[in-house]
Symmetry: C2
């Protein structure tokens, strides 16, 4: 190992260790341990920052970049390191410190405000958070919209200029489709809230994860209040889920979602372990995926494209019925598939269906863009939120806990992260379409439950590269083009046309135009 590799390896070790501490805190730690754990994470994070910005690391990276004999992989790693170092150099230490403190304060204020349904109690912290994020955006710099600088920390290369027209196309597609669906009878869903024992849910979920290729010799499934996936190198990639005994889809699809994330991390090439190319250096987070959106594309692909498909349940519904004979006794496969794909406007993002989910995201993104751009004040946020929910979903927000206070993101300072959920949906369909072109017999394989060829193609084309390429480079290499919503829109239209027995898509769109 040269010095750059040695220092990168130690830095990645530190980031992986932080992930281990986070996993433990969220799944195992006794309540009394939280203050000490926060201090341990603060110390590690300061150490990681110290080592990232150590002039010796910069010099070592510079040397690699200047050395024409290096492999492409090494050069890319060194370039990414320099980019992160220089971004960190742009941000005043005082701002970093204040942001860290404020994140913890603001999350507390948010949790209390949400519990008491009292936006005013959160407003001062949020106002300061917006202000600091505006400063952060200014320090990081951008040529166009200040929001671009924040966006870039989650989705390298993505800009408002790309995002807005994309959103416009999605809106123009989603709203008419939603109206057409709403005109049809509601599918039956009563049985989803019957009693499903947690043990049987866990057994079924773990088996499903393994079927997709999740390697439990390098992973494990635990329970946590909020499901997540986290990795400490490709050799140890853990997922969690939440088993609700009176709501089957939660764990069922939640596990497939986290499995998608986990397949990505487990599929990173071993040569990228302990390198910059499995480190989000700016976020000080060990992760093998190219970006938040790319990562989300894989969770969505496995959860929605595969896990909610008719073909999947044609094969696996008998197993589900065998696991839960009583609550599913009077439910046939088609009824089940319709139920878990039901589209219905709702107030809460994390409970939203595939179609309305994007509407929830676009609402948040457009509001946070205006906050960062200085065009919207925090005091006007609830009204703006509620108006948009009314307009898009036809719902009245009864209180801020079911509205503007529902998500933790803004209190955690995560401005710029919301778009990645929708970007993930779009990319999932692009990748899936490319896989279908590359594997002509894919549909038949999936009908037979042969997931290995699809998994192998995704691993070869996406997973193994880790963070070597930007999301755009990865898309171009894999699909021949940049971000393009067309395959996603076609997928949604086709899916819901079938499920809801809509008129032909074109007719449906015309009718509602």
């Amino acid at each position: 190992m040269n010095e750059f590799q040695q220092r990168s390896a130690e830095l990645n070790d530190l980031l992986c260790v932080m992930n281990i501490l986070t996993w433990d805190a969220r799944t195992q730690m006794p309540g009394g341990g939280s203050a000490a754990r926060a201090q341990q994470l603060t110390t590690l994070s300061a150490l990681a920052r110290e080592r990232l910005t150590d002039p010796a690391f910069e010099a070592a990276a510079d040397e690699i970049v200047g050395d024409g004999e290096q492999t492409d992989q090494n050069t890319r790693a060194a370039r990414q390191a320099l980019e992160a170092i220089r971004a960190m150099q742009c941000v005043p230490e005082a701002l970093t410190r204040e942001l860290t403190l404020l994140k913890s304060e603001a999350q507390d204020a948010w949790a209390t405000a949400k519990a008491n349904n009292d936006f005013a109690a959160f407003a001062p912290a949020l106002t300061r958070m917006v202000e600091l994020n505006r400063q952060l955006a200014g320090a990081l710099g951008s040529t166009d919209h200040p929001y671009d600088a924040l966006l870039n920390t989650y989705e390298p290369g993505l800009t408002v200029k790309t995002l807005l027209p994309l959103f416009e196309r999605l809106r123009a597609h989603h709203l008419p489709l939603l109206r057409a669906i709403r005109a049809k009878p509601e599918p039956r869903t009563d049985f989803l809230t019957r009693f499903y024992p947690a043990d049987a849910q866990k057994t079924f979920s773990l088996a499903a994860a393994r079927r997709f290729g999740y390697d439990t010799d390098r992973g494990r499934l635990d329970e946590s209040a909020h499901p997540f996936e986290i990795s400490f190198t490709r050799a140890d990639v853990r997922i969690t889920t939440r088993f609700q005994e009176h709501f089957l889809p939660g764990a069922l699809f939640g596990t497939l979602h986290e499995t998608g994330h986990a397949l990505y991390e487990q599929g990173v090439d071993p040569s990228l372990s302990r390198t910059v190319l499995t480190s989000d250096l700016l976020g000080l987070y060990a992760v093998g995926g190219a970006s938040y959106g790319t990562h989300e594309s894989q969770s969505r692909l496995w959860e929605n494209r595969i896990g909610r498909s008719a073909a999947y349940w044609k094969l696996h519904y008998p197993e589900l019925q065998a696991a839960f004979p009583e609550p599913l006794a009077d439910v046939d496969e088609q009824t089940f598939v319709r139920a878990v794909n039901r589209v219905t406007p709702s107030l809460i993002r994390v409970e939203a269906d595939e179609l309305t989910y994007d509407l929830h995201i676009m609402l948040r993104v457009e509001l946070e863009m205006r906050l960062i751009g200085g065009e919207l004040e925090v005091k006007d946020l609830p009204a703006a939120w509620n108006a948009r929910i009314r307009e898009d979903l036809g719902l009245e927000v009864p209180d801020d806990a079911h509205g503007v206070l529902q998500d933790i993101h803004w209190s955690a300072g995560m401005f710029g992260s919301f778009p990645t959920y929708t970007i993930g949906n779009v990319m999932a369909s692009q990748f899936y379409a490319a896989a279908r072109r590359a594997i002509p017999e894919l549909a038949g394989q999936l009908e037979r439950g042969e997931y290995a060829p699809l998994h192998g193609w995704l691993a070869d084309n996406i997973y193994r590269h880790g963070r070597t390429y930007t999301p755009h480079e990865l898309l171009v290499r894999t699909t021949g083009e940049g971000l393009n919503p067309q395959p996603y829109l076609e997928y949604l239209t086709e899916k819901y046309t079938g499920l809801y027995d809509l008129e032909s898509p074109v007719a449906a769109q015309k009718e509602n135009a």
Copy 2:
């Protein structure tokens, strides 16, 4: 916080984090994660060493020691830091590096050798390990026996000069007592290997731990192949046990043993968290106990003095019977107490009873002392081992797996740690005798299951001090004298005289003299 405190806090954080990683590796980690985990631990350990030996830390400690205005606690912390720094400075980096590598190699070689019952396959690694530990002892320095230097890393201040006469007294007591016991009929133990469901064992064990005062808001009980206790500050102190469904005493007393360790760690004064006084700096290990022996005194005290006593089972045996009605149906309380206190010579240390355990320890200590002193060669070790087992316990060692290869310690380079088990037994009785003097109504309290007064006295006199005092200082403060085996010998004699219906102790000793 001054600079010394700040640096101490970060150093303790790193050591706590290493403990979290170790706990996870031994209880949760999937098999595939072990290589990455070893690298993460190596990186953290190197970082901790780097920060310990940072000249700025030494200077900060020096400043505290030179400042007459400091509290006793701060001055002691700074002195301990300087001692550790200077010891580290004495050890050549090349030796540390070679020892680290050899530990991992030698443990592999030992595991294979043990599995194949092939001492010759382990001998080269062990020979090198002895040689490096001789070098380490030389580097650390000692005025008398080189073994003292190693001993000091586990039990500060203990020397061969103190240890040998102590062992002589124990031998002179234990061997005649063992002979007297062997002349009596064996108690019934057949029922201990009946079927005891693991779930019920776990419930009973956890309740027993909480009865003693183990705070599960700052701890948890898990399973692992080898039971242990580990702490990440006093706010998070975890224990593990191993539930064998056909051997009840394993988990029953194993949990009480680890609970004793945990009470110590949970009882450290909050002001010592994140300081040198909860850091074994030389061992790079976060721990609140004054030494390995002091720690062991508390596990032994709670496991043996309380947990195996007649008074304990008089109160709790009905609960045990209720938890395991079938296997204990034909067993009365007295039969149970005799069974779990049976004395019988055996080949394996970890399975030994309270009395013969010390004989196992003394055998190991005397052999390793001779190895480090250069008076015994590795090739002659098995024969020396087997001869001593024959002499002390009257048993023939059938193979090295049941003899010299049974313990991991030497392959892990832990020369000097074995004595602390017996030191723990001796100190346990000294502390217990002092508690009895201080709490006249102790016996009655224990009969009623009131453990809080004893726990409180131990916390006040021992636990809260963390590593502030040396074991000797702690003994003198608490009991008025240094290491003294008399209370321990009296306890054993009295206990077994009653259990085995021996003649009066003096008569018994005479008869066998």
